[in-house]
Symmetry: C2
Subunit: 389 residues, 2 copies
């Protein structure tokens, strides 16, 4: 069992009507606030007006950067960092989902770097400082609201890279489940698939680690499976939205990782898909996960699938591990493709095998897949991609 | 569902050989360190020497306060605060279990108060500042290493009061499971009973809250039940000690509470027992918990017992809720009294009914038991005490 350091200092205001604390929290960190957001859905929902009102009420100076893309681009990071340098921004407020928060993290870091922001993603430049980041979350999915990493895409190079630093950990996050009432059933499903994948990437691990963390992960997965369909059918079901929102943070904030030291598998593979085809991250993960589970199942790994099937799906513990394993993969597929109604094949979203070689090579390199649950080389990844066609 | 604020900034070094970080962490907060500990078991185990070596290596100035009691007394708080004022102590390092850490928290607070330390416990004085607290945990039980409260006894008044402030939250905790190898089977059992009670106090709650947190609590309880007997039988079983240690922190650091707003039940009752009879806290909780569960079971509350029985003990979900409820209480008793081997009756530890009236009145008042899972008045508490005789 490995040692580890637990350090998750993000403060979270969870629930309705907490925005009244926004001004005081921002004010702790500075007077000049850059508000970052996406395509404007927060204007339609009225959230923008509420946030701006709180900032003004607190007597803070407001600057704005809008138009941050899903699969956020390094061009937005560059634009934000330039604005921060020019205006002397002191604190960042991301209002949006994971894309907006991820982008804002790198804006915060790039503000203190004189070269090109992409250098930070490529590890050519170290993250030495970061502007303080606060956020108002609008989508339960990536967990960026409580972790220290982000994923940025480069349209020119078709690269999509995950990078992190404790300096980028949000100081304060506002999680109001009612804000996610307007999230469409499709985006709700993609968010659920993303969270489920975050847990699965850590849970499927042959390292000996704390059983206690396994039980927590089993609880998170059960919660996703229970409430994602409820939130899709009843978008304003507070209980469902609240459970999904808090799970999104805890699925990836580092707590469940404990001392495990293994590379994730599906995320690096999916990053290649969305880098080239700009698909929704959660959808890509949904397509990949069951096939990857199938590919990695063998006599050695079956015990983990057995634990998963019994604990998460309540499968009969008296069955053979291999039988439980196969049933549990089928149940994951049923959840993702029937219950959530996500597409199950790359061919259904117009992805063919033409880039598999390039994508597989990059996934193995950037994702360090030789250190994964079941170590994967380029050919393994190509095989998994093919299974998903 | 209530809103809540999540704010648990304690940094944790978990695992073996992490003490090398102690000097650097202490140094962030000050040069003059007061090391607090109990009766000297850390000298026997060699932990004292290791800690002192790290403090010296970091060039910090060392002061000491030893002899902090189990059920720590306000006299120790007074002595510690006086020393801090006199020597200009800048940072506190508690090396011990919950008693030492609890006491150290109030030393930290009382250092900034000119009156008598007991005023803070009695809420006659507010906690306005606190010296930074770090700790090296030696016993998995109270969770004081990651929460903001403590319990202090007053030998003159026979009061035992729980009080808290976010200012007292430890900055950094060192959790090395191997340090607990020397904890006796009996103390291991009492620690397990304490942790289990922490979870049960929150879990048995009729307020609507996050299902996700229920699943986490079920995981924590399953972990305690699985590993406490292993640690008793094999004191140097790392896996068992590690699981118990991390559960001790998460059972009571506030995470599982979410938006629940209910007074705890068994803890206020137990505090009266140990205030007068100075018994081990975990033992008192073990005796009280099953009888309290029995007393609170009714047609309205049975659903919670049913969830508990099915999820924690794997009882047959097709049975009637009341049947599952009764079986689950029997299983809690079996765990505490057979598996852990704790005494099950007050009469076995020489407590009779002579103080029940006084203790019950105090428990209701100090514990605000009218706001508990099942609201309890003085007569209810006397009834529960009698059931425990």
């Amino acid at each position: 069992m490995n040692s580890f350091i637990y350090d998750i200092p993000t403060k979270v205001y969870f629930g309705e009507n907490q925005l009244g604390h926004l001004g005081e929290e921002l004010g702790r960190y500075g007077k000049k606030v850059l508000l970052t957001y996406g395509g404007g859905s927060i204007k339609k929902s009225g959230l923008y007006d509420k946030v701006v009102a709180e900032i003004k009420k607190a007597g803070l100076e407001l600057f704005e950067l809008s138009g941050i893309e899903p699969n956020p681009k390094v061009s937005s990071v560059r634009a934000g960092a330039e604005l921060c340098k020019k205006e002397g921004i002191e604190v960042l407020l991301a209002v949006g989902g994971g894309s907006v928060i991820d982008c804002t993290k790198f804006i915060g870091a790039a503000t203190f770097y004189d070269g090109d922001a992409w250098d930070i993603l490529e590890e050519k430049a170290e993250i030495t400082r970061c502007l303080p980041i606060l956020d108002v979350l609008t989508l339960a999915a990536t967990g960026s609201e409580m972790d220290s990493v982000g994923v940025i895409s480069n349209s020119e190079t078709k690269d999509k890279i995950c990078q992190g630093s404790p300096l980028m950990q949000p100081k304060v996050s506002f999680l109001d489940p009612t804000v996610t009432y307007t999230v469409s059933p499709y985006q709700t499903a993609c968010g659920a698939a993303d969270m489920l994948s975050h847990v699965i990437e850590v849970y499927f691990n042959m390292n000996k680690d704390l059983y206690m963390l396994d039980t927590v992960m089993e609880g998170l997965m059960k919660t996703i499976i229970k409430y994602a369909p409820v939130a899709m059918a009843q978008p304003d079901n507070y209980e469902a939205r609240a459970n999904l929102m808090w799970v999104s943070s805890w699925a990836i904030n580092g707590f469940v990782e404990g001392g495990k030291r293994q590379s994730w598998s599906c995320h690096p593979m999916e990053h290649e898909l969305s880098a080239i085809y700009d698909i929704t991250h959660g959808l890509g993960l949904a397509i990949l996960t069951p096939k990857w589970l199938e590919y990695c199942l063998n006599e050695t790994t079956a015990s983990k699938y057995y634990q998963f099937g019994c604990s998460v799906f309540g499968l009969d513990a008296s069955l053979e591990p291999m039988e439980v394993a196969k049933k549990s993969i089928a149940l994951v597929e049923e959840f993702l493709f029937r219950t959530l109604g996500l597409k199950s094949r790359l061919s259904e979203i117009e992805i063919d095998d033409s880039n598999f070689e390039v994508m597989a090579a990059k996934a193995v390199r950037l994702g360090n897949l030789g250190n994964a649950f079941v170590p994967l080389d380029k050919n393994d990844v190509i095989n998994i991609f093919k299974m998903c066609l």
